[in-house]
Amino acid sequence: MRYLPHTQEDIQSMLQAVGVDHLDHLFSTIPRDCRLKEALDLPAPMTEWELNDHMDALAGQMPGPGHQAFVGAGRYEHFIPESVSYLLGRSEFVTSYTPYQPEMSQGTLQAIYEYQTLAARLLGMEVATASHYDGATALAESLLMAVRITGRKRVALSSLIHPLYRQTVQTYFAPTGYDAVELPYLPDGSTDLSSLSQLDDLAGVAVQSPNFFGVIEDLQRAGEEIHKTGALFISCFTEALAYGLLKGPGAQGADIVCGEGQSLGIPLSYGGPGLGMIAAGKAHMRKLPGRLVGKTTDLEGRLGFVLTLATREQHIRREKATSNICTNNSLCALAAVMYMASLGKTGMRELALLNHDKAEYMKSRLKQAGFAIPFERPTFNEFVVEFPKGFEETRKRLLEKNIVPGFALKDFYPELYDHYLVCVTETKSREAMDALVREVAA
């Protein structure tokens, strides 16, 4: 086996050094009735070439070239520069562990420090963590953080936060005894905060912008309403690229910002791995969950970086830790910083504008074709459209043509039957949009 370097001779001489005469005897401390008698029932090994064929065949049962999915809803198709994929393949980054030994890990540490910096700047916050699993767990951890900071036991979430994020929060909250309530939405597709004043003991209130309908929320006003209750304002996002164009949540009063960074150079990969992001003000720095990299100096006064504030973490604080997270999504954070560095301020703005403008083009074409756009408020790169009754048949026809025309909202919002969330990023050409409109109008 090519990954196992031992020759028969090596094995014999090592066994001799250990003082046993057979590999099986190395396991003598395992009681006999614990030991497995039969072989594992797994498929026979494949050569590298057989594996390539096998995996290519499986990948052949996936959407191929020419496939056009106008689907966002938490994961976004964006172009990824080859330079980012190439740099991310550097095995010094890929094959290293969590940087517990900083002298040998300055590459990862400086890169994560740079990621934290750019992430904080993108969101308009002072401090960002090294990464979390995904946007949904980042939200759950942010809400738990609000509970820790305020000592209160209830949180409220906008019903326009990604439904799968809200489900994740319910999972995290179920055994804790804390209450997670949902806030309704208004006919204009934004969050209805009017019930906040009737809720007591609120630790945090979370609002997503752009929200699940793609609508840009008035975060400034939301923050003011939320702060009146004494709760922390948690601003959530699923499309990080939006902040290349939109005002950052930090500038609008958010206490904690959390969400998904997959758009920043990370492939879709059927939903994972992504990049959970959490940012906050310095006042809450010591309450943050997860890893943090900090700047310091070495014995000779040279600049260097270390994992820091470890006293918040599980391996030191045990059951009193701010989170149980250990392995996070470090390499995805590296992808994000490489991507943000490649775009720069100029590129981020241009690309975000292009996403917005393309989505607006699509929206106007659909309107022209006679379809209703139920929520009139401004959107970024996705929006809701109402197709006529019986659209399900049209959709099936389109699927056969390798086009996914949007994400059906009815499973999460039963009142929105025939409503679809349509996403347009820079990967969709005008021709592809025109073709979709022709098909749905046909």
Partner: protein, 485 residues
């Protein structure tokens, strides 16, 4: 040790990202604008993020230089205990990046995604077979996330029975994340000490197990690298009082094809695909922490479940007893593809060989070093062994000093000061992918360092000397944190 691996060579200084570049540069090929601009209310628009503008060359040089300050498994031996830093096969990377997989959106219809669903369904079956369990979920994103999932399953199981409990037994040789995972579920961890053999005695468990205790969270093999020999009896005690047995399977690399945890009393366990199943650790993730369970816990597994209906794979969300969702989608699929590729490459005999050689390598190191370093538990180990700095203490040399000096010799240090049951612990896990020559040169380096500790301890106190930086001031970093530039 005249020809130590560790040497010095030219690596380049590199400033912080934002100290480079010039406004107006861009390292990204902007797609052509084929639509007209569409105005957006000025109130909504920000100034644009304060990022530096860099060319593609700037970015490539920057991160290439940074990468050269790092040490990975591809650079050399990385014997971090309990981390299983084995070689990460390159073919796995190829498979995970096939566009059909890497470009698949998670919310497109299942009928279009049969390939990836087949991989995931088969991986669940393979992991259940390797652990001797009945079902698996791939959703948890890392080991600690798997622990949380396991605790939620135990919590839901007791809840369904109508009698919630308040405590979970956590031995002192368990992984560091365990108590925090227990606490997240509202349980109180009850510590239990291991015995003078470094393992858990049935009596110790019997002494604390009661009908208010939801179960036990046991790491097997434990963090001393020892197999929990009393596991059958411990499981019997826990089950008799209505509790469940959770196994932290981070150390599964020791016993593949040798022991099935499901056959020795374990009800629920997690695996770390980024340890046992060869996926790279990425400098701190992404990992993947699948959870395997016995039949009685299957109804509680996270949604969606992958099911096969009339020969087609589908996602089933309709599980009324499910604990819910652990993250937005189905887990770290990119990592699963690599682990699946590894299992298909190794086959049943290959995986068993992996564990045999991992255990051989650890025992070889233990035997060859036990005269050099103090070995608190002198008995056959599994995949890792734990020493201490007791022999070096008279020379005022600590575990940390030896760890830092190892860097100068060209090795990544072992895990240090863990497990907590050994003062000054040095925990070594060579893994099966290190050759005898590499082990010999690692052993020689440690012997040379032990000699230096006797003759020239300052060499160790001042180590490392050959890295990009010398020892860093961690106290200052924590006292006045600077977390962004």
């Amino acid at each position: 040790m005249n020809d130590s691996l560790g040497t010095t060579g030219l690596i380049l200084n590199e400033p912080l990202l934002w100290e480079k570049g010039k406004a107006g540069r861009c390292g990204f090929s902007l797609p052509k604008r084929d639509v007209d601009p569409s105005p957006l209310s000025r109130e909504l628009v920000g100034d644009g993020p304060d990022f530096p503008d860099l060319s593609e060359v700037d970015v490539v040089r920057h991160y290439t230089r940074l990468s050269q300050w790092n040490f990975g498994v591809d650079t050399g031996m990385y014997p971090l205990g309990s981390c299983t830093m084995k070689y990460n096969p390159k073919t796995n990377e190829r498979q995970a990046s096939i566009p059909g997989f890497s470009g698949a959106h998670p919310l497109i219809p299942e009928s279009l995604c049969q390939g990836v669903l087949q991989v995931m369904a088969e991986l669940e079956v393979h992991l259940a077979e390797i652990t001797g369990m009945d079902a698996a979920t791939l959703q948890p994103a890392a080991g600690a996330h798997g622990e949380l999932t396991g605790m939620l399953l135990i919590h839901a199981w007791h809840q369904k029975k109508g009698a919630q409990r308040t405590r979970i037994i956590v031995p002192d040789t368990a992984h560091g994340t365990n108590p925090a995972s227990v606490a997240l579920c509202g349980y109180r961890p009850v510590p239990v000490a291991s015995d003078d053999q470094g393992i858990l005695s049935a009596e110790a468990v019997a002494g604390v197990m009661d009908e208010d205790t939801a179960g036990i969270m046991i790491t097997n093999p434990n963090t001393l690298g020892l197999f929990e020999e009393n596991i059958l009896e411990i499981a019997r005690i826990v089950h008799a009082k209505g509790g469940l047995v959770y196994c932290d399977g981070a150390n599964m690399n020791a016993v593949m094809g040798m022991v099935k945890m499901g056959k020795i009393g374990v009800d629920v366990m997690h695996l770390n695909l980024h340890k046992t199943f060869s996926t790279p650790h990425g400098g701190g993730g992404p990992g993947s922490g699948p959870v395997c369970v016995k039949k009685e816990l299957e109804p509680f597994l996270p949604v969606p479940r992958i099911v096969k209906q009339e020969g087609r794979y589908a996602l089933d969300h309709d599980r009324p007893d499910s604990i819910g969702r652990l993250q937005a989608f189905y887990g770290n699929v990119g990592v699963m593809l690599k682990a699946y590729s590894y299992i298909r490459t190794m086959g049943p005999e290959g995986l068993k060989k992996v564990s045999q050689l991992a255990v051989l390598n650890a025992n070889y190191i233990k035997e060859r070093l036990k005269d050099t370093l103090h070995l608190p538990y002198d008995r056959p180990c599994m995949h890792e062994c734990v020493f201490s700095d007791k022999f070096q203490a008279p020379h005022h040399v600590t575990t940390l000093d030896m760890a830092k000096r190892l860097m100068d010799y060209g090795f990544h240090p072992p895990t240090v000061y863990f497990p907590l049951v050994v003062a000054g612990a040095i925990m070594m896990e060579p893994t099966e992918t290190e050759s005898k020559e590499d082990l010999d040169s690692y052993i020689a380096a440690l012997k040379a360092i032990a000699e230096e500790a006797r003759t020239d301890p300052d060499l160790l106190h001042h180590a490392p000397r050959k890295c990009k930086v010398r020892r860093l001031d961690e106290t200052a970093a924590a006292r006045k944190p600077c977390l962004a530039g």
